[in-house]
């Protein structure tokens, strides 16, 4: 049965009815519901992918709205987590698609369980460390990983795990960069988000419909007009710890204790605890009612002002402390609220 919803896509000869059927059967995991995640998810949901899981750790902020197309001003006021708002919006766009939003931080400990059972992982994360974790997990499970990243007016894409003899992300990165440009340090314009996500989505559709395509590392700068497209097959490393026969998947090695992360350039520290510690946001809100101001609560989180900092505590046990880059300060705030 071919519903008219996809008729123009089926008319496109390389897809056809057969390709549409394959798109319909696909299960796609989207790693991040920020800019690339919003844009990529919307395209794939409209294209009629069968199942989509979209995961993100953040809540929606005013600074997101110029480029994160799934969200509205009201979502900011309601302090909604991106994954929850994305799920609601995507379901409204296309009820054919089985959509699950998950509010959590993707870590070496949980990524295998999260992406297992999907046919594709779409990269929409905002940092290289998480990309390398995803690269390892996807390679270990044999799931293609469609990398994408952008900042300023510049973006790049690279599909990984399409051909056996192609390099992975770890092959391409000889060393982890000490610091990369992020959207919070040099800004970003929405056209490059959409362009980068469009290339990723096009590669996903080619892959799903069985089209013959060569995985290339590609970049574009929409301001300068610079563009590049490289066949990087020669960069595959024989002894790569992530994609060789003797792979050990180094980025999946678990770290046990409380983890801290200073979120890229925006004066926010994230604290998270090992699996097992979770919070009931509504009960927690009750307990801190007297010591905090501007308390906002919903089923996903509690947000408040405490000692001059905006603090967000998620159900999965993570805490964001805004207005500081100091882990020590963040831990003091956490201790003050949680005891």
């Amino acid at each position: 049965m071919s519903s008219s919803k996809y008729s123009r896509q089926e008319l496109f000869a390389p897809i056809g009815e057969e390709g549409q059927k394959r798109i319909r059967e696909a299960k796609v995991f989207i790693l991040g519901a920020g800019a690339l995640g919003s844009s990529g998810a919307e395209m794939l949901v409209r294209a009629g992918v069968g199942q989509i899981t979209i995961v993100d750790r953040d809540i929606i902020e005013w600074t997101n709205l110029h480029r994160q197309q799934l969200y509205t001003e009201q979502d900011v006021v309601d302090q909604l987590p991106k994954a929850a708002a994305a799920e609601r919006r995507l379901k409204a766009i296309n009820s054919d698609v089985d959509i699950t939003g998950i509010v959590t931080d993707v870590t070496p400990q949980n990524i295998m369980e999260l992406i297992d059972g999907h046919d594709i992982v779409l990269d929409a994360t905002d940092n290289i460390e998480t990309r390398l974790i995803a690269n390892d997990a996807a390679l270990k499970l044999g799931i293609p990983f469609f990398m994408g990243a952008c900042v300023g007016s510049y973006g790049l894409t690279f599909p990984i795990g399409i051909q056996d003899d192609q390099p992975c992300l770890h092959c391409l990165l000889e060393a982890l960069p000490s610091q990369t440009m992020t959207c919070d340090t040099v800004g970003v314009i929405s056209p490059i988000v959409v362009t980068t996500a469009a290339r990723q989505a096009a590669d996903v559709l080619k892959y799903l419909t069985g089209a013959d395509f060569e995985p290339k590392l590609e970049s574009a700068d929409l301001w300068t007009g610079d563009r590049a497209s490289m066949n990087v097959a020669s960069m595959k490393k024989a002894g790569c710890p992530s994609c060789s026969e003797n792979a050990v998947y180094p980025f999946l090695s678990a770290r046990e204790s409380m983890r801290t992360a200073v979120l890229c350039g925006r004066e926010t520290v994230q604290l998270s605890w090992p699996e097992g510690r979770t919070f009931d946001p509504l009960a927690f809100a009750e307990s801190i009612h007297g010591t905090t101001t501007n308390l906002v609560k919903n089923e996903h989180l509690v947000a408040c002002e405490y000692k001059g900092h905006r603090v967000v505590l998620f159900r999965d046990g993570r805490m964001l402390i805004h207005g500081t880059k100091e882990v020590v300060t963040a831990k003091k705030i956490a201790a003050g609220l949680l005891g």
Partner: protein, 68 residues
Amino acid sequence: MERVIELNGNQYDVPVEVGNVQELLGHLELADRIVIVEKNRNILSKDAFDQPIKDRDQIEIIHFVGGG
């Protein structure tokens, strides 16, 4: 000698002080970034970044960024 190359698809006049690929990366403020460089359709390894840039070379540079 004037050198005009194709850099990332655009025509580019190589400044006189830029002799090789490493110096080009420095000039473009990409020296401390993770980059992949292709010269005349061949990927260059890091130890080949001292290769001189000649007139009409075709150079592509892709650098990694964090955002998304």
